[in-house]
Amino acid sequence: MIENQSIYLAISVVLFIIGAAGAVCRRNAIVVFMCIEIMLGGVCIAFVTFSRAHQSLDGIFMVLFVMAVAAAEAAVGLAIFVLMYRKHGSIDLDKFNLLKW
């Protein structure tokens, strides 16, 4: 245990839930994307907290790899948004049901 460990974990839980609620409720694809980044940030705080509490570096490497994956995700995701906008003139997620019969 490190000092204030519960507070760090509480912040990480609150950030995760805020991000998840935004991803559920908002319809703008870019805002949903940013909400996913908030969720990743909350998870990363928990990783670093446990990494410090256990005197280990594994959590820090996890956060490094999360950052790299988030960068790749941003590149591909925003290219997809540009394609969606070009095809339909909007990035409203409720209007996209291409995989539905």
Binding site: I7, I11, I17, A53, S56, L57, V69
Partner: protein, 169 residues
């Protein structure tokens, strides 16, 4: 003192994350997101992860948000008014499930049942060798394979983005 600083930064991170969701314009959401990333970086510093704090500012607040703001401006989304939260049944169910998840996670994180097995990275080791040296020793030895795989992933992501966004004749 540290506790006060933590509470201020954590509170600001939570408030700015809420403003990301509730801001009317997408660009305002993006700017609050940058603020939220800076607050998370300060929390990393409080956790003695200075290297990650710098990476957070450079990669997230710099590169990724530059991508997002670039996309917002290129798509010219200002005219879209969709800040109202719609109340379809599936979304109500989703929020209810999230509340249950929130209570569960708070119960675990506020309880004192989390045990801590102590690893080799003590504060004295970090103080004698330096944090970046310790991190690089582990990153380029134990984590070499994941490191290389992530670099392949980034290359594939860049190529995929270019191929997707290229205008098909």
């Amino acid at each position: 003192m540290e506790l006060v600083f933590l509470l201020i930064c954590g509170g600001l991170a939570v408030i700015s994350s809420l403003l990301v969701i509730f801001a009317r314009s997408t660009l305002h959401s993006a700017l609050w997101m940058v603020f939220s990333f800076f607050m998370v970086a300060i929390i990393y510093v409080l956790l003695h992860a200075q290297f990650l704090a710098m990476l957070q500012v450079i990669v997230y607040a710099g590169a990724i948000m530059m991508f997002i703001i670039f996309a917002i401006m290129m798509l010219n989304l200002r005219h879209e008014k969709d800040a109202k939260v719609n109340t379809r049944v599936s979304k109500v169910v989703g929020v209810a499930a999230l509340i249950v998840l929130f209570l569960e996670m708070m119960l675990v994180s506020l309880g004192n049942s989390l045990s801590a097995v102590q690893g080799p990275i003590t504060d004295t080791l970090v103080a004698t060798h330096g944090r970046v040296a310790v991190i690089s020793n582990f990153l380029f030895a134990d984590y070499l394979l994941p490191f290389e795989v992530v670099s392949i992933l980034l290359t594939a992501g860049v190529i995929g983005a270019v191929v997707l966004a290229k205008r098909v004749k």
